[in-house]
Amino acid sequence: MPIVLENVSFTYGTGTPFETVALREIDLRIADGEFVGVMGHTGCGKSTLIQLMAGLLTPAHGKVMIDGADINGKGYPLANLRQRLSIIFQYPECQIFETTMEKDVAFGLKHSGLSAPEIQAKVCRALESVGFSFEEIRSLSPLELSGGEKRRVAIAGALVTEPQILILDEPVAGIDPVGRGDFLKLVSGLNRNGVTVLMVSHNTDVLGDYAERILVLDQGRLIMDGPTRSVFSDVEKLEKLRLGVCRPRKIAHLLKERGVQFPQDIVSYEDLLKAVIKSRKSVAVS
């Protein structure tokens, strides 16, 4: 299900004194199975962009097309899209409302038309994918859990439909490092199985480690769009935008500024390690 945006603009509060243009003339195409990171300064329109893609907002101009169909067109089956596209907001635990874990996670399947055993199987898989044991916790109240556990339930609730597109808005804010690692592993596992992932984050390290492509927004415009390596290659430009780059890339950049010969196509810690080991070896050889 490729996502295509054609000349999309969006304005909040049209016709009021508080009119804000949040997005201007965005053109974009996201292919199946991509892992795309979205970055930009606060208020640049990242959340607006992904909400447009999820059909939660309607563009003022332009078209949002998923799988070739305009999702804001008349008669488009949005309910159907919601089964195939999931979105996880910054504090997803705020959406929990049911009396048991099982019911809450199953909420997304309510209109799926599946039979009860099928639903139960999916709920079980979703809860186990976030590290719960289904039989132990299925009838507990999700409201009595700790914050981190609640977040995992909420994530299970978004994954239960087994979406082909997964959109994440600041998903790692406020989780402890272990939880963050587990979560990112889960997401990249889904991506390897063909799920398109779109992740908004201020955390450049996470984007450098996982995203294969980066979109940079500035004041509602899409100003950079390309493979992570090439977007992160322009360190000065990103720093001028007050965004910065991931730490491995920054280290490579600093080494170069000091006059050290060092590869500059580095974005993840893995790249950095490899480059360091390689340069040590070449030193040893000479």
């Binding site: 409302f97 009396t99 109240s141 409201l143 009595e144």
Partner: protein, 178 residues
Amino acid sequence: MMTTVKKAIITAVCAALCVVLPTAFHAVPNAGSIFLPMHIPVLLAGLICGWSYGLICGLIGPLLSTLFTGMPPMAYLPSMLIELAVYGAATGLLMSLVHTREIYTDLYISLIGGMLIGRIVAGLSRALIFAGGSYSMAAWATSYFATALPGIVIQLVLLPSIVFALERARLIPMRYPQ
């Protein structure tokens, strides 16, 4: 037990929800008159904090809503204030009087009683103030029961669920601790 400060803040939050909740249903046609979203926080303030706070919430909530969103319009405000204040006070009073050892029973008795008393008082006030005594039984029955029936049913299911969820999340003290 909740402190006075906590009760006051909860009441304030409920009053703010009187402004905010109806706006969430703006997009839905006729939601305001069918689902009565402004009643929910007022009833809740009464149930949780007691009759005086329910009363205050019933007065402040609609007032702030009119000031900030223009809904309900000023002209309907007086009758709405009376109605909501009575709901809040009556449910709160019943909740403090009824102790059956079963929270759902307490809640249903207080809610049904409060809604009934509120509708009677609102009908009386409307008859006395707005229609000069000629407001008929039938008009009262249609406007307060027939059109509001879905709202009443929803409130009877929704409010106990909210109270239950708040207890579970340990945001309010348990009524009957095990």
